[in-house]
Assembly symmetry: C2
Homo-oligomer: 427 residues x 2
């Protein structure tokens, strides 16, 4: 299968340069890029981009996709009430049969926002993988130790090997745990074993709230980051999610162990957790990626919202409008996300990389006039400028329509019925 | 001309109720609303809403539309550099011939965001009015005292009378000044005269930055709000823009004089001005409306961004996720905006009100599942959920397409050429 995207502006994300040219795709890989691609060669499909912008899709480096059933279910409530009265009791109702449909609603939203892959942490990853496979969406799943559900050390190591055999596979797997404060000694030991034997990078929520860090210090005499490091969990790299409260020493460790900090500005704002000190982390040379978090704590699944907020909140936090550049943020949302997700083959729009490409409609009014395309994207962009979302060489979204083999109203109907069922809190 | 919007969910914005039914429009007014509208009567145009949501359009209560030429021109710079090195030198290049095309780009973006009217303050309002008339967009313009351009007291009073003769006219006018710190005694005296004779409410930027308030206190021994009150400028009501730094006494005055505070959260964030204390203002019973400000300081012109930020930033500022309700914010963006703009006939989706109506596409993934339509709108909404924008009974935007009598690529081309010309800073 050969596809040609012709007459485009192309932002490879290797640097800020935007070139004019064409992109040829063979199966799921980018085979040619530039002004010299032969547009008269034989292609199965040709799309005229009419001067619009092609760039790598956004990488959502932290989410819990199936949480769509909790969207708008518990807004405007305190973190404790939110978690213990609204979220946990409803999550207790979850069963494997829910995950697929609830995830599909999230995937549809990702497509509208130009998100081409997710690093996802939630229950029942086999069912989540089914949703991704059925819609053609790329994800990296975080497998967690849970022997009650058959996820013991051996099973995680075997999964890691099997799911990552083909480096260009649509869906892959890494290993992680929820958080320091929800793990017991058995879990820490299991993680050590898993990571040492499998070689997987490590993924974990960390330093999201002030009280989380304080309680860890009270209990262990050190921060969560220091404790993970002591337990050798960072030895194969990986990422932490949130990182709102990091000490200088935490940042030093994260830098030394090449751990990405995945910032989730909308979630941290909604739950009043605080503003991560991205400016300081960048000064210390840390790699930042961006995540939407789940739709219970956001509520949208929109990389434009996150990019805009990430820059904006730094201006508020530092009281300085001279903050992070638009290109730096765009890099976080693409290249750095791919690195965080262990997807070195999805970093750039370049020959030999996976064909996860989006087209930005430069003829939307928010993209006009053109003083600076990258600034327009980061500061004025939104879902309405996403003209095309291609994953693994297949166009899944074009001109506001989903090009999938399923009726979206059926997906909504099933998800709504599950949402209604799961919304009931059992006494 | 009779139009029927049938099979809709209807949010009148009188309260939180959402009813099922139909809306009939006669010329530019809403003539019938509810389940009993005769859908088989004679109509010139019938739209099947297929269960989607109809609600009043958003009222953008503070903007400088023609500033589109500065979008993405000066990001990531300090307020002083931004204003004095980037904005003012380029604004000095403006001439009446620019305003129309630059404004049209903004109007196109307003339509994509469901904004059906603006309260606009900028240079050359005759040319701005032309842009609105030509595209069918509703605005209330702020006429400012500027005798060099023929806007003396008599002319402002005459304009106020003429432009407001027809209370349902597409474009109307009120009187105001830029700010306390840019006005001299002559301007204050002129304002007093204008407002006393015309009866116009008063509009002004106020208390946007800490230094603005401090300098006023140093100079006049009182805050800008206290000074405006002393000069009787609040006697006919009106609105102040920004209100980031308000004292208790300021809020008392604003409440007594029934002045709306128009909050511009994105602009205040971009320029690191601060976070307005909306929570406190609401507790004191003040009316809040919402503005995008111009695209130089935002950079998008998007009411969804503003609504979301307004709630989110309160959670950050108060460190409390229990903040303003979604309905309260939606009211600010619609009803309160109309009141601020002196448009009592555009507050609700109700019989006898102007037919400024938007349709929200509930089948977009960000609007699913439906736990709470109003929360979905405020916390997950974006331009991509706006299916229709109707102003003055005419559908100007539907399914991503502009239904205007002009070629949008021509509008962009002209605006781009003006942008390039105006972007050069003359030495």
């Amino acid at each position: 299968m050969r596809t040609l995207l012709k007459n485009a502006k192309i932002l490879k994300m290797i640097d800020e340069n935007i070139i004019e040219g064409h992109v040829a795709i063979t199966d799921n890989m980018i085979s040619e890029v530039g002004p010299d691609v032969d547009i008269n060669a034989q292609y199965d499909k040709v799309i005229d981009c009419e001067g619009n912008l092609l760039m790598p899709g956004f990488k959502n480096a932290h989410t819990h996709s199936a949480m769509t059933f909790l969207r708008s279910k518990a807004d405007d409530s305190s973190l404790q009430d939110w978690l213990f009265k609204e979220i946990f009791p409803r999550e207790a109702n979850l069963h494997p049969g829910c995950i697929k449909e609830l995830t599909k609603v999230a995937i549809l939203e990702y497509l509208t926002s130009g998100i081409t892959s997710c690093l996802d942490m939630y229950f029942f990853i086999d069912e989540y993988k089914e949703a991704c496979d059925e819609l053609g969406f790329r994800s990296v799943f975080i497998g967690m130790y849970n022997p009650k559900d058959g996820r013991d050390v051996d099973s995680l190591i075997r999964m890691y090997k099997e799911w990552n055999q083909d480096k260009n596979a649509l869906n892959k797997m890494v290993i992680g745990m929820h958080a320091e404060y929800t793990a017991d000694e058995e879990q820490f030991m299991a993680m050590e074993n898993c990571l040492k034997t499998s070689g997987s990078p490590f993924y974990v929520h960390a330093c999201e709230t002030y009280s989380e860090v304080k309680e860890c210090i009270d209990k262990r005499g050190m921060t969560p980051i220091e404790y993970f490091d002591l337990r050798h969990l960072f030895d194969n790299g990986g990422a932490i999610f949130h990182g709102v409260y990091l000490t200088d020493n935490d940042m030093k460790i994260l830098k030394e162990k090449d751990i990405t900090v995945v910032s989730c500005p909308a979630s941290n704002m909604k739950l009043a957790s605080g503003i991560a000190d991205i400016t300081c982390m960048l000064n210390k040379g840390l790699r930042i990626a961006i995540g939407t978090d789940g739709s219970a704590s956001n509520n949208a699944l929109d990389m434009f919202r996150e990019m805009y907020l990430l820059t904006g909140l730094q201006k508020i936090a530092t009281k300085n409008p001279v903050s992070i550049s638009a290109f730096e943020v765009l890099k976080m949302a693409t290249v750095n996300g791919a690195i965080a997700m262990n997807l070195d083959n999805a970093k750039y729009l370049e020959v030999g990389q996976l064909a996860d490409i989006i087209m930005i409609d430069l003829m939307r009014p928010s993209m006009q006039p053109i003083n600076n395309i990258i600034s327009n994207l980061v500061y004025s962009g939104g879902k309405d400028v996403v003209k095309m979302t291609m994953i693994n060489g297949k166009i899944l979204y074009f001109d506001g329509k989903f090009l999938i083999n399923e009726d979206i109203s059926e997906i909504y109907k099933k998800a709504q019925s599950l949402t209604d069922e799961l919304g009931i809190i059992k006494q």
